[in-house]
Every structure is written in C-alpha cells, then in structure tokens.
C-alpha cells in the first residue's frame, strides 16, 4: 500500500514539472480559430463573443480579419459584432475598404451598425449608394446605430445630402423613430423631389402629430396624383385617426380645410371623409346641400371611416334618382355595415345588413353584401346567410360566408349540428374546390390555414 502511494505521489510531482501551460487566452483563441475544423473554431468564436475581455484582445482578434478567407471573415465579423467592442472598428473599416466579397462586406457593415456610433455614418452612407445586399445591410446598420450623433448626421443627409440618399435617410430616421428629425421631415414634405416628398410623408405618418398637420396637408396637395397622392393621404389620415393627439390633429385638419382655397378643397375631400367625425360631417352636409358641390359631398361621405353616417347614407339612398349616386351610396353602406369600429354592436350591424338587402337591385350587389356579412361573427349572421345557398345566383358568395363563419371554432362548436348540416349543403352546392375542402375539414373538427 505504502509503495503504491509513493508511486502516485511521484507521478503527481512529475505532472507538475511538465511544461507550464499556456497563459494567454487570446493566443489560445487565435490558435483555435486557425483550425480547419468548424467545431474548434466555434469554441474560439464563442470566447470572442463572451470572454477574453478587453480592448487589447478585441484589437488582436480584429487584426486577424485581414488574413482570413472570406467565409472565416464573416464568422469572425459576426462574433466581433456580438462582442460589441468599438475597438474592432478600425480593422473592420480597413477590411471594408479592401474586401470585394458581398457577404464579407454585409457582415462588416452589420458590425459597424451594432457597435458603431455617429462616426460610422459616413462609411455606412457610402454603402447606401451601392446595390443590395450591401445597401440593405447599410440601411439596417444605420437603423440600429447607437447615439444622438447618428441621428443628427442622418438628419443632415435628409436635409441636404445627395439626391439619391435623402429619401433613404428619411426612411431610416423614421424606422429609428427619431422624433428629433421631425422638423426635417416637415421641410422635406414639400420637396421638389418626389421620392423625398414620399419618404417625408411616410415618416410623418409614423411620427407626426397635430403640429405637423399643416405641413402634411401641404405635402398632400403637392403630391402627384396617383400612388404618391394616395400614400400621402394614408399618412395624413393616420396622423388624424391613429397617432397620439389624433383629435387635435383632426381639428387642425378641419381648420385648414375650411381655410383652404376652393380649388384645393376638392382634393382634400377624400382625406376629410376618411378622417370623419361630427365636424367633418357638418362640412359634408353643407356640400350636399349645394347642388354644385353635391358630388364632392357624396365622395367624402362614401369614404367615411365608421358607421356614424349610416342614417345619412340610407336617407340619401331613399331619395336619389341618380343611378350612379345610388350605386355609390349602396356600395358605401355595404362597406360600412359590418365594420369592426365599435360604433355598432353585432346585432345592430346585422340589422343594418338586413335593412340593406332589399335595397340591393342586382345579384351583384346582393352577392357583395353576402360576402361582407361574414365579418359579423354570430350565429344569427349564419342563419341569415344560409337560405341564400339555395339561390343559384347567390349560392357561391353565400357558401363562402358559411365557410368563413364555420372557420371560427367557438362559433362552429357551439352550434355543431346546424353547422354540420350547412357544411354538407355547401359541399353539395359549391363549385369552388377550396370551399369543399374547408367544409370537410371543419366538419371533422380540423383547422384550415389561409394560403
């Protein structure tokens, strides 16, 4: 026994006088990164991400970049980005200057975005001018770049940068939700360049409030008819109906509307209708009362965002003799009736649908109403729709609504027998294979994924 213990003690002493282990964690990581085996490199990369602390270590790791092949440059860049140490930046900028590989360039840009600050805007701006994927990487990097200096530099680009970059800078600032840049957006809303105007209106649609409404109205009026005007309208309406301070924004819009020259008012009718509200309705009433402006009033009314104008629409529909007006008013009612705007409860919405149905004069109108009604998800709606499955001209829209209502498991399971019979009827009636498939799935208690 004593002999064995002595042998073990001697062995231990021998172990201790073996070569002294390496003491440099950075050198050990670099050694691992030089391996061809990705599993060993992964350990090294993990240490870069979460260990081997210090700027000196970061610089040593970053200095390896230039000597690596592209694939390894990308993995090292990603690890350095996760490490989050600014000390890597000089080496990364050098790499960016020399590298041709798109993946390497994108990874380098992403790193600059995640660890850089205002000083890196200039480099990233250059990449904005190139093609994708570098441009997309630069855009993302500028969105995540930290610091107020980055915002102020991007704002300078938005105000007076190169023509091709100004709109991009505005989009980036909007994605950053940079409220400090709102004055620059306001100035750009009426810019001579359509792309800049469009970007500014989009940005104001996200970040604008009551103070920006006058500039947005001006931007809307200066927008070219078509896509630009439609997008500008959406942004203006969003500020007046969704954004913080929406009530004051809507008031500001109405005040501007009243003060606007007659020639421009027509253009503003469309957003007026979509913004809605009692004061807007009063303006519309005045227009409707004036035969010369009745069309404008109708146009605004038919774009109303909620069901508060229902009585007005029904009243006008009952009195008009003009087929085009009738069609416009009926279309508005069909659109408004099932709107989920909390103005009506489900029963009131369905009552309105029931009231509209006899006013429809063609099967096309009835079909439109039957297709819209499934937005009111009640068993009463289902019972209203079901008989139309038997009418050949309306069978398909009715089948569609039955299937849509059956899609909602709670509704379907609470009235299983009724739905099972109705789905059998749909299967026997419809010519649409998707409805048949869905009906069969719902009968079996299965779900269906929308394509």
């Amino acid at each position: 026994m004593r002999f064995v213990l002595c042998c073990l003690a001697l062995f231990h002493v021998l172990l201790c006088v073996e070569r002294a282990p390496a003491a440099d964690p950075v050198a050990a990581v670099i050694d691992l990164l030089s391996r061809d085996d990705p599993d060993f490199r992964a350990i090294g990369l993990e240490r870069i991400r979460y260990a081997a602390q210090g700027e000196a270590a970061t610089r040593q790791f970053a200095d390896m970049l230039a000597k690596q092949p592209p694939g390894r440059q990308v993995e090292l860049l990603r690890a350095l980005a996760d490490r989050g140490d600014k000390a890597a930046i000089p080496a990364v900028i050098s790499l960016l200057t020399a590298a041709k590989d798109p993946a390497v360039r994108s990874a380098a840009i992403a790193l600059l975005g995640s660890v850089g600050g205002g000083a890196e805007v200039a480099v990233l701006k250059q990449s904005l001018a190139s093609g994708d994927p570098e441009r997309a990487a630069a855009k993302r990097a500028l969105v995540v770049l930290r610091g107020d200096e980055a915002v102020s530099q991007l704002t300078s680009v938005a105000r007076s940068g190169e023509v091709g970059l100004r709109a991009l800078a505005i989009d980036i600032l909007a994605e950053r939700r940079a409220r400090a840049a709102v004055p620059a957006f306001v100035a750009a809303a009426t810019d001579a360049d359509a792309a800049v105007r469009g970007a500014a209106m989009r940005a104001l649609g996200k970040l604008g409030g009551p103070d920006e409404v006058p500039a947005m109205v001006q931007g809307f009026l200066e927008a070219a008819a078509g896509t630009e005007r439609n997008d500008a309208e959406k942004a203006l309406v969003a500020v007046c109906t969704d954004n913080p301070g929406k009530e004051r924004s809507a008031e500001s819009f109405l005040a501007i509307f009243k003060a606007t020259a007659e020639a421009d008012r027509e253009a503003l009718l469309s957003p007026l209708g979509r913004i809605g509200g009692p004061r807007a309705l009063a303006i519309v009433d005045d227009l409707l009362a004036d035969p010369a402006k009745r069309d404008l009033g109708l146009k605004a009314l038919t774009r109303w965002p909620d069901a508060t104008v229902t009585p007005k629409l029904l009243e006008l529909l009952g009195t008009t003799q003009n087929p085009a007006e009738r069609e416009m008013l009926l279309g508005a009612l069909i659109r408004i009736a099932p709107l989920p705007d909390n103005k009506f409860n489900d029963k009131q919405k369905l009552d309105l649908v029931v009231k509209i149905m006899p006013l429809c004069q063609t099967d096309a109108e009835r079909a439109k109403l039957l297709e819209r009604v499934n937005a009111i998800r009640t068993v009463e709606t289902f019972r209203f729709v079901l008989p139309y499955v038997d009418q050949p001209a309306l069978a398909e829209p009715a089948c569609k609504s039955v299937v849509e209502l059956a899609h909602h498991r709670n509704l379907r399971d609470a009235h299983k027998d009724e739905f099972t019979k109705a789905l059998d009827k749909v299967i026997a009636t419809t010519k649409n294979p998707e409805f048949v498939e869905r009906a069969n799935r719902y009968k079996e208690g299965k779900t269906w994924e929308r394509k």
Binding site: M1, V4, L5, F11, H12, P21, R47, A51, Q53
Partner: protein, 247 residues
C-alpha cells in the same frame, strides 16, 4: 419537552413485524423521534440502538430498508457494525451503503473499504461508488489498482476517483488511458474533466489547466476523440479567462 422513549416501544415492535403492504402509519412516531433526536443525544443513542437491532436477523427486507433510511440521518460509529454486516447481502447491501455513505464517522468509510475486497460484481461496484460518493481519500490506492480490473469495475473506479479531489486521485486518473475501450476510457475522461472542473472551482487555475492540457495531448488527433478534445479546449480557455480576470 423530552421525547417519551416508552412511546417508541410499540412502533418498534410493529417495525419488527413489518413487511411491504402493511400499514406504516405506526412509524410516524419513529419519524418524529428522528427529527427530535437532532437536539437530544439520549434519544439519538436510544433510537440508533433500536434501529440497529432491526438490522439483525428475523426482520423483513422492508423493515431493514426503513431502518437504513433512518440511520442515514442519525447514524454514528455505533451503528456501523450492524450496517457493515449487511454489505455482503445482495438484498440489503444497497441500503446499507445508502446509510454508510452518509454517516460521517471514519468507521463507516473503513467498513466500505473492508467490504470492497470481499465482494464481487455489482456489490463491489456499489462499494466503489459509495467510496467515491464519500470522497474517501484513503481508498485511492485501492481504487487506482482497480483501474486495471474488468471494465465495469475499472469504469466505476475511474468515476469514483473523479469525485475524490486529491492529488493522488488525479495522478491515478492521469495515468489511466482515456482511450481505453468498453466504457472505461469514457469514465476516465469524465473523471479527469470533473477533477479539472473541481480544481478550477477551487481557484487552482494552473492545476486545472494542466489536467485539461494533459487530456487534450493524450487524445489529440485520435479517432473518436474529438468531443474530448473540444471539452478540453473549452476547459483550457475557461482557465485562461480566469487567469486573465484575476491578474
């Protein structure tokens, strides 16, 4: 209020006749006494004596197991002989070890070491595991010798040595082949890694790194040893980081 020793008479009489399936409610008094014994030396001695008597002939396996569980909590050197007598019995050896492994008296470790040379097969492996579980430095020479025994015993010995964090245990493991077959090499690797982790946790960074490095050198480039190389590499880096953080 002192525990009434007389109140234990009836439960222990029931325990003597107890077998699986019978009502164990009567033992609640014994359970309470075990708890109360932590501050009562007289009660503890009395209980230990009564429980040790249950381990003798004439009681069922169920009763012996119950007694072992209680002795695990309150046992001292006094109950070691009764427990040691069960170590060679295939039915009771496991529960006797369960108690002996946790009784801190050196006599308990000695009983396990004594039994190691006189049992075979799974019982022997059990003794090895219990000695490892106790971290028994005195058993290192015998465990080191068993590293060259048949594979299941050798693997158990390696694992046990990995739990005994002494230089001698580590030296024995360092001399063992981490690439040995039949599961022995895997146990040696695990034990060496466990030893290194223990050293690192104890702040012995250089010693820990040496263990990792020796292991890495031993398996470097050998077929099927990549996972070991990776584990050793990770360990070395953890050692180096610890050094960097403390220097």
């Amino acid at each position: 209020m002192p525990f009434d020793l007389m109140s234990l008479d009836a439960p222990f009489a029931a325990l003597k006749a107890y077998d699986w399936g019978a009502d164990a409610a009567a033992f609640k008094t014994i359970d309470d006494a075990v708890v109360a014994a932590h501050g009562d030396a007289v009660l503890r001695a009395d209980l230990e004596k009564r429980l040790a008597m249950i381990l003798g002939a004439g009681t069922s396996r169920a009763a012996k197991e119950y007694a072992c569980r209680k002795l695990m909590m309150i046992g001292t050197a006094a109950s070691v002989p009764a427990l040691a007598a069960l170590l060679k019995n295939a039915d009771n050896s496991h529960m006797a070890r369960f108690a002996l492994e946790r009784i801190s008296a050196p006599e308990a470790a000695q009983a396990l070491r004594d039994a190691l040379g006189s049992v075979q097969g799974n019982l022997r492996i059990g003794m090895i595991e219990s000695l490892g579980g106790r971290g028994d430095a005195a058993s290192v020479p015998e465990l080191a010798r068993l590293l060259s025994a048949d594979p299941p015993v050798a693997a158990a010995a390696a694992t046990a040595l990995g739990h005994i964090h002494t230089p001698e245990a580590l030296a024995a493991l360092s001399a063992a082949d981490p690439l040995a077959g039949s599961g022995v090499g895997r146990a040696v690797v695990d034990a060496r890694l466990a030893s290194a982790e223990a050293l690192l946790a104890a702040g012995k960074r250089v010693d820990a790194q040496r263990v990792y490095q020796t292991l890495a050198d031993a398996v470097k480039g050998k077929p099927g040893a990549k996972a070991v190389e990776l584990a050793a590499a990770r360990g070395i880096l953890a050692c180096l980081d610890t050094l960097a953080a403390t220097s």
